[in-house]
């Protein structure tokens, strides 16, 4: 074979390069590649022809043909990249979502914990830190635990301060009551535990009373300390610390007024400093107004005796307040009755997110 037998490489390269450029998709490009560089491709055939050449012919033809092959490979690779990119661009062109469409809200965003539950968790966090356990008792109580043990004599007008719900009279003439306060839990605690005792007793309580500020069912929390030396001074300190922690203020003035409860002696009512000058808003720890929030006192010697404790040896104090009421004060709900109406609008607005768990480390209302 002679050199003159070589076809026009330039023309071949022009044709093939044009073919590569013209390939509109990857299969088209592959067809061009096979036609040129496949087993029987035009360039492959030329490469095979090198074997029959004289060394001189091969010296010039070899690099020319190999060069052609390399350039074609490069051109095909480049074209393939182009075609891939174009194909992807084209696919992405069609893959569109409307990102403004609303997603489902996370269930945890919809669910709510009732303010009463939240406030009980807040109280528990504060008092657990002072070493108080949480005690509970039945809602249906007997006369002894609800009244007699607490130094409410039969027929005493103090019993009338409680509008009591009764269950039917039994054959023996006794009748159970719906507890009018959580104090029977204190009695149950003193009867079953040896001092020192430190408990809080949150729970449902009942009085047959219904108006703007009273519902037949409400919630109370009481605290009880029994040991050999705790006195009114300690009670004062606990209540001051509690008010600061609960209302989340740096300081709050408190006013202790002598009062009367059958189960404490001395007895006091406590007002806290507040500012009510802004309509519909109460701020604690400032202002010159007073708001009554709780009753308390030293446990009455008769109550200690009724619970089997010697008042000359043991003493202690107790306090009680309305959970619903302090929740209203802290979070600004205007109407007590709405607490029990299960109106989803109210619950969603005043309720708490399930993961907003009150802690002292993270803040009660974080």
């Amino acid at each position: 074979m002679s050199v003159a037998a070589l076809p026009d490489l330039d023309a071949l390269e022009r044709d093939l390069t044009a073919g590569i450029a013209a390939a509109g998709d990857e299969p088209g490009l592959e067809a061009v590649r096979v036609a040129a560089l496949g087993k029987k491709g035009s360039v492959s055939e030329l490469l095979k022809s090198l074997g029959g050449m004289s060394p001189e012919e091969r010296k010039t033809a070899g690099p020319a043909i190999n060069g052609l092959r390399d350039r074609l490979n490069e051109a095909i690779a480049a074209r393939r990249t182009e075609l891939k990119a174009a194909a992807l661009a084209k696919r992405l062109e069609t893959e569109r979502v409307d990102v403004t469409l609303p997603v489902r809200e996370a269930p945890a965003e919809l669910g709510r914990v009732h303010p009463i539950s939240q406030v009980i968790d807040e109280l528990t966090a504060i008092f657990a830190d002072m070493g108080f356990a949480v005690a509970e008792g039945p809602d249906i109580e007997d006369d002894f635990h609800n009244f007699t043990a607490l130094n409410f004599p039969e027929g005493h007008p103090a019993r009338e301060m409680h509008d009591t719900f009764y269950l039917p009279t039994k054959e023996d003439g006794s009748r159970l009551v719906l507890r009018t306060h959580t104090s029977p839990v204190q009695v149950r605690t003193m009867l079953t535990q040896k001092p020192p005792i430190r408990v809080i007793c949150p729970g449902r309580t009942y009085r047959s009373d219904s108006d703007q500020t009273h519902t037949p069912m409400f919630h109370q929390v009481e605290g009880l300390v029994i040991d050999k030396g705790s006195n009114l001074g300690h009670l004062k300190w606990i209540l001051e610390e509690f008010c600061k922690a609960f209302f989340e203020v740096d300081g709050v003035k408190m006013r202790f007024r002598p009062s009367f409860f059958p189960f404490t002696e001395p007895s006091m009512e406590v007002d806290i400093q507040c500012d009510r000058s802004r309509p519909g808003e109460i701020r604690f720890g400032e202002g010159s107004d007073w708001l009554e929030i709780l009753g308390c006192g030293m446990v009455h010697p008769n109550v200690l005796r009724n619970c089997g404790l010697d008042p000359d040896e043991y003493q202690g104090f107790a306090w009680g307040m309305g959970i619903d009421r302090i929740a209203m004060l802290k979070y600004g709900m205007p109407d007590l009755r709405a607490f029990f109406e299960a109106d989803v609008r109210w619950l969603s607005h005043y309720g708490f997110r399930p993961l907003d768990f009150p802690t002292l480390a993270g803040g009660l209302s974080n």
Binding site: P107, L110, H114, M130, Y166, F256, F260
Partner: protein
């Protein structure tokens, strides 16, 4: 308890300001409820003379009055009061005056074309009484131009205090003054009460019957009195505290009630027949004869019935036939044998310690008056008043306990006042019973004040306080003997004395003492049930349910629908008929709430409650339930319709998932739960289930029964669950918190799918259990990934597809090994459930 500042100052010699007095009252435990200064509120109102009152030219019911206001020219006023007339004196307010009873500020007006420059006022417009029938009609001698409040003696602040039930002594102005004096606000004015010598023996004798709750009863006759309106000072005093003056004799008793906390009663002696007996009221049963078919009707109504043995249609029905009293409030009360009365030869004349009778009441014609000063047992007075629903100032005081030693001095004081105001001549005092001696001595260690109250007060300081309050103290240090005064029946022991010392010295002197944490402070304080309660709440809220707190009582019908309604759980005195029975389940409350929300347009609600349910009336019958209820489209993935998928109504599996979430959060061994289709009646029989652990029922879930929805008049679909948190077994306490070591298998798990055809009645759970039981070590999971019923398979069959995960632990499994396990699975599922493998 109300009194005016000037009244207080009759008993308290003080230079303290009103504000100082109010502060002190709060400080010593006599909480100030309010202060009303009428002088400030009503200063624009003055006495005026109506020169003429002519008919309005354009209105029949109006009058045009020319009014002399005492300042310049007469003023023209249009007045609509029926009693407006020429020559009367009334109360006038000029334009610009604020009218409290109407909440308006007066302007110059034109009424039907006639100009009106002010107003003649009714007592209601001044908020002095409810009387708005006409304008105030003043006596002829009322001075024109003088401010009405000044003339009425209303220019005196009225103080209202809340008196706690233990402090009966503070229900009289004198007692309030004593407390204030002890607190350093001035000197208590104590005038000795001089006995009035009787001119003749009391002609009416008093007998206290056996068992009457009356320790002592003092009585005296004053004859030849001239009763009539009491003097202005007395009327004004009573009016200022909201009492209506009646006549001098009655007004004296009211005055002493509030001045000295000594309720009294006056009988018109002319209307009393014979002697007086203090006794229990008589009640008997009257039998009326009947001839009808059915005596049972009466028996059902609670009447005693006596049937003629010869003729069952002839019977007698018993009706209570009690003594009655027409009381001074104009109402007739039926009395029973627990109540104490004062009776004469004719009938009951007075309800002891509560209210007198109309028949023997004093009026302007009374010339001879019997004055009673008695002592009553407080509990009896309280129970009588409560039973009759009768409140009076006397009852309020007697049931709290008044000063027994003041029984006779109170009568002497009343006598003196009556003689001063009405003249007459007093008899000797007739005293039945005896004044009880309440003297007692309390050993009071003065250090107790520090021990209980943390208040370190000097010995003499403490003794001084007690002495000023009327206590007798013997000793000066260490333990002293204290005798409480007769008016302090509430003082029982030394703790009460600490309270007296502390309240008078001031609670602000009690220091705030840091309360040390004890060694328990760092231990967890919640019980298992308390922890479960809070975890259940948070778990349900994270699933999109909203926590409700519903009433613990539900209507009887609903209690019955949900397995309750036992008679011992029905309130004897429910506040409303739909709050009558203790709830056996939280579902009825949530169902009602869910419908109420739907009625407000929120149909897709998901509610839960964690709270107490009552299976009986004993403490151990009260359980803590966690209960959820989903309505309509309130699915766990989100409520309502959404573009991403077709909206599906809630179903039993949503409730099941909620229940399982609670159980898992509360630490129940969820993998061991048995689930069966035998939920209670309030669930849909085919779409509900029960969870058990061993023999214990832990809870239920499912769609609510359509007839329950109908009975409660609510619309579904409603699905719910209830879990009893107390019934979840408590895990054993572990000695260590270390978790079991994690074993990570080195070989890939293998998953094999099987499709079975089974009768519809077969439970998928049983198929899963059968498959899993083939090799508990190798098979780590069995999942139901497809369920089909419908065309293409037999009518009573369903196709259930299981995917089984095998986890080899020692080496990769060969195909032959896998096939062998698969064959065993098919064989086992077939054997246990009658399934056939689909081709």
């Amino acid at each position: 308890m109300k009194f005016t500042l000037s009244w207080l100052k009759e008993h308290l010699d003080t230079t303290a300001s009103l504000d100082d007095i109010l502060d002190a009252l709060n400080r010593i435990g006599l909480e100030v409820e309010g202060v009303e200064d009428k002088a400030a509120k009503l200063k624009g109102f003055s006495i005026a003379y109506v020169i003429s009152a002519e008919k309005h030219p354009n209105a029949d019911k109006l009058r045009v009055c020319m009014v002399d206001t005492g300042a310049g020219e007469p003023v023209q006023v249009v007045c609509g009061a029926p009693n407006a007339r020429t020559g009367m004196k009334s109360v006038f307010s000029p334009p610009g005056t604020y009218i409290p009873g109407k909440d308006i500020t007066l302007g110059v007006g034109s009424i039907r074309g006639v100009e009106s420059r002010g107003m003649l006022c009714s007592a209601a417009e001044l908020e002095l009484s409810e009387d708005h029938d006409g304008i105030i009609d003043l006596p002829e001698d009322a001075p024109v131009g003088v401010p009405y409040v000044d003339w009425m003696g209303l220019d005196d602040p009225v103080i209202e205090i809340a008196v706690t039930p233990n402090r009966a002594d503070a229900l009289g102005v004198h007692g309030v003054a004593r407390d204030l004096a002890a607190a350093g606000l001035g000197r208590l004015v104590e005038d000795a009460i001089a006995p009035v010598a009787g001119a003749f023996p009391c002609p009416v004798k008093v007998t206290i019957a056996d068992g009457a709750p009356c320790p002592a009863f003092a009585l005296r006759l004053i004859r030849g009195v001239k009763n009539g309106p009491s003097p202005e000072w007395l009327q004004n005093k009573l009016r200022a505290i909201g009492l209506r003056p009646i006549n001098a004799l009655v007004d004296v008793t009211n005055l002493l009630t509030f001045d000295q906390n000594r309720p009294l009663h006056v009988f018109d002696a002319g209307k009393v027949q014979g002697n007086l007996v203090v006794r229990r009221a008589k009640s008997s049963v009257r039998y009326d004869e009947f001839f009808t078919d059915d005596p049972n009707e009466w028996i059902d109504l609670g009447h005693p019935v006596k049937i003629d043995p010869e003729n069952p249609n002839h019977y007698w029905v018993g009706f209570p036939d009690a003594e009655t009293l027409l009381a001074l409030d104009g109402k007739t009360y039926a009395l029973d044998e627990t109540m104490c009365v004062i009776a004469d030869a004719r009938a009951v004349e007075s309800l002891a310690g509560v209210m007198g009778g109309e028949e023997s009441g004093c009026d302007e014609g009374t010339t001879d008056v019997l004055v009673e000063s008695a002592l009553w047992e407080p509990i009896n007075i309280a129970s009588t008043g409560r039973k009759l629903g009768l409140n009076s100032d006397a009852r309020f005081r007697f049931e709290r306990g008044i000063d027994p030693a003041f029984t006779v001095p109170g009568l002497e004081l009343a006598t003196k006042l009556i003689l001063d105001l009405c003249g007459g001549e007093a008899s000797e005092i007739e005293l039945a019973g005896a004044i009880p001696d309440t003297a007692r001595t309390i050993a009071f260690p003065l250090l107790l004040t520090d021990r209980l109250a943390g208040l370190a007060a000097e010995d003499d300081e403490q003794i001084d306080v007690l002495t000023r309050l009327g206590f007798k103290v013997s000793g000066s240090s260490g333990t002293v003997d204290v005798t409480p005064p007769s008016w302090r029946g509430d003082i029982e022991g030394k703790a009460d004395l600490v309270e007296e010392v502390v309240r008078i010295l001031g609670l602000d002197r009690v220091p705030s003492l840091p309360f040390e944490r004890d060694e328990n402070a760092l231990k967890p304080v919640l019980t298992t049930l308390q922890l479960r309660t809070r975890k259940a709440k948070r778990a349900l809220a994270t699933r999109g349910l909203v926590e409700a707190v519903t009433w613990s009582f539900v209507p009887k019908l609903q209690a019955e629908l949900f397995g309750g309604g036992a008679p011992e759980l029905a309130l004897a005195n429910p506040i409303a008929s739909d709050l009558s029975d203790m709830r056996p389940s939280l579902l009825p409350g949530l169902v009602r709430s869910s419908q109420a929300n739907a009625d407000r347009g929120l149909g897709d609600s998901a509610l839960f409650e964690v709270g107490q349910v009552f299976k009986g009336d004993r403490p151990q019958d009260q359980f803590t339930a966690a209960t959820g209820l989903r309505r309509a489209l309130a699915k766990p993935v989100g409520a309502g319709r959404h573009w991403s998928a077709k909206a599906q109504p809630v179903d039993a599996f949503d409730a099941k998932a909620d229940a399982l979430a609670v159980l898992a959060a509360c630490g129940a061994p969820v993998a061991n739960l048995q689930i069966s289709a035998d939920a209670p009646d309030w669930f849909h029989p085919g779409r509900s289930g029960t969870f058990r652990l061993g023999a214990n029922v832990i809870g239920h879930f499912g769609e609510l029964h359509p007839s329950v929805l109908e009975a409660m008049d609510v619309e579904g679909p409603l699905v719910g669950f209830e879990v009893l948190l107390d019934c979840i077994p408590t895990p054993k306490a572990k000695p260590t918190r270390v978790k079991p070591l994690l074993e990570l298998a080195a070989f890939q798990p293998v998953e094999r799918d099987f499709a079975f055809l089974v009768p519809r009645s077969v439970a998928a759970g049983d198929m899963v259990k059968a498959a899993a039981g083939v090799d508990r070590k190798l098979i780590t999971a069995v999942n139901v990934f497809d369920l089909y019923e419908g065309p293409g398979i037999e009518a009573d069959s369903k196709s259930v597809a299981l995917s089984v995960t095998l986890q080899p632990r020692e080496k990769t499994m060969t195909d032959a090994e896998i096939e062998a396990v698969a064959a065993k699975i098919v064989a086992e599922v077939t054997k246990k459930t009658g399934a056939t493998l689909r081709g």
